[in-house]
């Protein structure tokens, strides 16, 4: 099994189902366009870079969006 730490939670994927890119990961998690930015192992990734950003076993990923706030 391969695994990713996503928003503080560990998720496991059989090797053949491991998403190859950040875009593929969002699709797999059914996360729509509300995600405004991501962080992969501490590196900021903008939405336009999601498709070209490789996802690898063991990475820590933060998916972030805007919410109401004061």
């Amino acid at each position: 099994m391969k695994s990713l730490q996503i928003n503080g939670q560990r998720r496991q994927f059989p090797p053949e189902e491991m998403p190859a890119t950040l875009s593929a990961l969002l699709e797999k998690l059914q996360i729509g366009p509300t995600t405004v930015v991501a962080e992969v192992d501490g590196r900021i990734v903008r939405p336009e870079e999601f498709a070209g950003t490789e996802v690898r076993d063991g990475q820590t990923i933060e998916l972030i969006k805007f919410m109401g706030g004061g």
């Binding site: 996360i31 729509g32 972030i64 706030g69 004061g70």
Partner: protein, 256 residues
């Protein structure tokens, strides 16, 4: 009304509005439109993986409003800087409302961490609007490192207590070289008017509008109060006097 200028950008509205706590995105959108706000604050949070489609901000027209991301939730300068960088990457806007609030009960801002974060963020090209306690020396230190405003609190966030810090706010307003935005604790339009009457450049309101029975009507009430307070300030109010000062002539009475 005269324009508010922050970091060289002009605004007609002196009422900044937070987008938290609204019952629905539609109510929020109506309230924002009703009060004419041009700057609206937003928070950055993790996507809820279990409910990924939830999007409370979908009704906010990003062409119409300047989104001002806050760093709420940050407890240290380091966390606030990280959130600011993420916000900039997300919006391509380099404005940030800097909040560092390690205390969970009163959500009071940490002055040391706030100043530290502000210094770094200004160097990185951010337009920094720091949320602070009403501390005139800290306000000056922040302006000295290049923040675009200072945002002293009237009372703790969401407390509706009004201007508990009035005396210190007056000193900040008197001394400040950058716009003073009174943020937090304004529970009634009269609180906002009071802040504007003593010379604040703007106010930021969230809870009082969002949690009112009729947020839209309360948004309008705040808009009018902010305008009234600003106009009163510009009109030059007179100081209170110890004794009565007759406004009718003291001669020509009928009794003599």
């Amino acid at each position: 009304m005269d324009k508010l200028v922050i970091a060289g950008r002009q605004f007609d509205s002196r009422l900044l509005v937070g987008t938290g706590k609204f019952a629905s995105p539609q109510v929020m959108a109506q309230a924002l439109a009703a009060c004419g706000a041009e700057i609206v604050t937003v928070a950055l949070r993790r996507v809820d993986i279990g409910n990924p489609q939830d999007d409370t901000l979908r009704e906010v027209d990003r062409e119409k409003y300047l989104l001002l991301p806050n760093t709420s939730g940050a407890r240290t300068a380091e966390e606030a800087i990280r959130l600011s960088r993420l916000a900039r990457a997300a919006t391509n806007i380099n404005w940030v409302k800097l909040e560092v609030t390690p205390d969970p009960y009163y959500l009071l801002p940490d002055p040391v961490e706030t100043l530290k974060a502000a210094e770094t963020l200004v160097k990185e090209g951010f337009v920094v609007l720091p949320y602070i306690n009403a501390d005139p020396i800290l306000a000056k230190r922040l302006a000295d490192v290049g923040t675009a405003t200072v945002m002293p609190l009237g009372s703790p966030i969401g407390s509706n207590q009004g201007l508990k810090t009035r005396a210190a706010l007056e000193i900040i307003i008197e001394q400040s070289s950058v716009p003073v935005v009174v943020d937090a604790g304004l529970g009634l339009p009269s609180h906002a008017a009071e802040a504007m009457e003593i010379g604040a450049d703007a106010v930021l309101v969230n809870t009082a509008i969002a949690t009112a029975s009729d947020p839209c009507e309360m948004a309008v009430a705040f808009k009018l109060a902010v305008e009234a307070g600003r106009r009163a300030y510009l009109a030059g109010p007179r100081a209170p006097a110890e004794r009565a000062q007759a406004s009718s002539p003291l001669t020509g009475f009928l009794r003599d």
